[in-house]
């Protein structure tokens, strides 16, 4: 069967990854960051857990590289977080093995792994076959979670110094919104002229029982929203029942993050904006005039029922 290394950053990502690993070979788990602190949760899957007491990519990379030489795994699986992607790129380079992040489906064949992933801001789906050993970072819900019915063994994994030195660690400003679970999301883009104007979007979201997210310029560059409200290929991928895109032009990097939405509404004053071709309902209007009108109509409807 062969060994499969499962990399876990948070206990919540481990179940599905262990489930996938079990269908391919014999799992061993590498735990770091939150998973390293809540290691007992991971031990209940019944496999060896190697704990790395740092969440820095270079430390994780060295630890996994050491294990790689020792265990000669068939596959390494992990979540699509920045820390893991960064560490795995280095491991893949060092050992000259294939690596694919953002994998949306996996099939095991005797002589290699077949996987699907989005390509070109997910406007194309690519199916690839790669030989073992390989590194596959999978999206949530690709595999069934493994049962927690065992007693694993904990092994501490220490690696030496790295060439990079940490001077300071700063927390990110996060809102804690869980956009992935939201049923309604109001998305805001550069059509908004000032941060204060986002209050309209928040009022609309509140009326609809939803959350507010935004494009890269709004969340990452202007920082009008916390970074965890950033929707797009490098931010969150969301799948609400209703996505209302306000003042968003429809760049593929953003739209790939909302492609799973059931209904997409676009509000934009530019009739030629590409978003209208990617929306179910498009309102050609100045958001500053239309959103207050929509809020009014919704309030009246709510009042009358």
């Amino acid at each position: 069967m062969g060994n499969v290394i499962v990399v876990s950053q948070r206990p919540s990502d481990a179940g599905e990854l262990v489930g996938l690993a079990r269908s391919i070979g014999d799992p061993v788990i590498v735990a770091f960051q939150d998973s390293a602190e809540r290691v007992e949760e991971l031990l209940s899957y019944g496999y060896k857990v190697y704990r790395v007491k740092s969440s820095r990519p270079e430390v994780l990379a060295k630890a996994i590289s050491t294990l790689y030489n020792e265990l000669k795994p068939k596959l390494i699986v992990g979540p699509n977080t920045r820390n893991v992607k960064d560490a795995m790129a280095w491991v893949a380079g060092l050992h000259d093995i294939h690596m694919a992040p953002d994998v949306a489906g996996v099939r095991v064949e005797p002589d290699g792994i077949v996987y699907k992933r989005g390509f070109l801001s997910e406007r194309v789906t690519m199916t690839v076959k790669a030989p073992y050993p390989a590194i596959i970072l999978v999206n949530p819900r690709v595999a069934e979670p493994a049962p927690r019915e065992g007693v694993g063994e904990l092994i501490e994994l220490n690696v030496g110094d790295t060439m990079v030195r940490v001077l300071e660690v700063k927390a990110k400003e996060l809102s804690g919104v869980n956009l992935e679970a939201a049923e309604v999301i109001v998305g805001v883009g550069r059509g908004f002229k000032a941060k204060e104007d986002l209050s309209m979007a928040f009022e609309l979201a509140k009326l609809l029982g939803g959350q507010v997210g935004g494009t890269r310029p709004i969340a990452a560059d202007l920082k009008w929203l916390p970074e965890d409200a950033w929707i797009g290929i490098s931010g969150k991928r969301v799948a609400p029942k209703l996505y209302i895109a306000i003042g968003i032009s429809g760049a593929p990097q953003h739209m790939s993050g909302v492609s799973g939405s059931k209904v997409i509404v676009a509000v934009n004053k530019d009739k030629s904006a590409p978003i209208f071709k990617q929306a179910d309902y498009g309102v050609v209007a100045d958001l500053y005039k239309f959103i207050p009108a929509l809020i009014d109509v919704l309030k009246r409807r709510r009042g009358s029922t």
């Binding site: 820390n83 070109l120 990452a220 059931k262 929509l294």
Partner: protein, 267 residues
């Protein structure tokens, strides 16, 4: 201090995705363009070149064919690097590495840097390409060259002797790091605001050398790992109903009606 190498990719353009009649992706007729975030890497090289005092080289590996049809797009991408900051460009175009393979691309880049004697103190790259977005080439190149690697750099704060102080934007937190040179850094779009090259820079670029290389020139033998079995265009079948009303209230009422029919509004 030394030379700077910037990795520049001519990527398939995600805004112009072409499709064959059978729904498969028509790679041959989808144009290439410079990866957006590579512009941030070039801008950062322009900002740092005074301090480093050496030459700036760009390295590009062509990963999408057909080779003969890519000349123009490839030249446009490379000329942008030359106009912006690079003194010389190195381009590897070879049938045997098309379509690209991550392991092969990283090995080819490392070979160009070593065999062409580029001797960099710093290698800069964008965090990911706009076509494959796998975030892995810079890290792989660092591993191949045995250099320290820092990805997701959102700010290069200062050059402190033979070290850089940078901010790395990780999943849940930001780190301030001291990195010994030479090193490989991948930058995010937040690192700077790239300015397009000026007309004078564009004119000057045509006089700068572009070194076209094949695997033979590099004495390299490669083994591709992945086989691409299928590439299919994702068809979005959105309804595309347009609401154009002079009265905002009418428009809002219409939208609410549609959304109620869809069953996505609850009162």
């Amino acid at each position: 201090m030394g030379n700077i190498v910037v990795l520049v990719k001519a990527s398939l353009n995600p805004e112009i995705v072409r499709q064959n009649p059978d729904g498969t992706f028509d790679i041959d007729y989808t144009p290439l363009k410079i990866s957006d975030v590579d512009r941030n890497a070039l801008e950062e090289a322009a900002r740092l070149r005074q301090v480093f005092g050496g030459k700036v080289y760009s390295v590009t590996v062509l990963t999408w064919g057909p080779l003969r049809a890519r000349e123009k797009d490839l030249r446009l991408a490379v000329q942008e690097a030359l106009a912006k900051v690079a003194d010389e460009a190195f381009v590897v175009a070879d049938e045997s590495i098309i379509p690209g393979d991550y392991t092969v691309t990283a090995n080819v880049i490392a070979a160009v840097i070593k065999k062409m004697g580029l001797n960099p103190s710093l290698i800069l790259a964008g965090e990911a390409s706009i076509d494959e977005s796998t975030y892995q080439i810079p890290g792989r190149v660092a591993a191949k060259l045995g250099l320290p690697y820092v990805g997701y750099v959102k700010r290069i704060r200062e050059v402190r002797g033979d070290r850089l102080v940078v901010e790395r934007d990780l999943e849940d937190y930001i780190e301030v790091l001291e990195v010994p040179l030479p090193a490989v850094l991948s930058v995010t779009q937040e690192v700077n605001e790239p300015r397009p090259p000026t007309l004078i820079q564009i004119r000057m670029a045509s006089r700068k050398p572009i070194h076209m290389l094949t695997l033979k020139d590099l004495g390299l033998d490669v083994k591709r790992q992945r086989s691409i079995l299928d590439m299919r265009v994702v068809t979005v079948s959105r309804k595309q109903v347009l609401i154009e009303e002079a009265s905002m209230e009418k428009a809002a009422l219409k939208l609410v009606e549609y959304l109620e029919k869809e069953g996505v509004l609850r009162f």
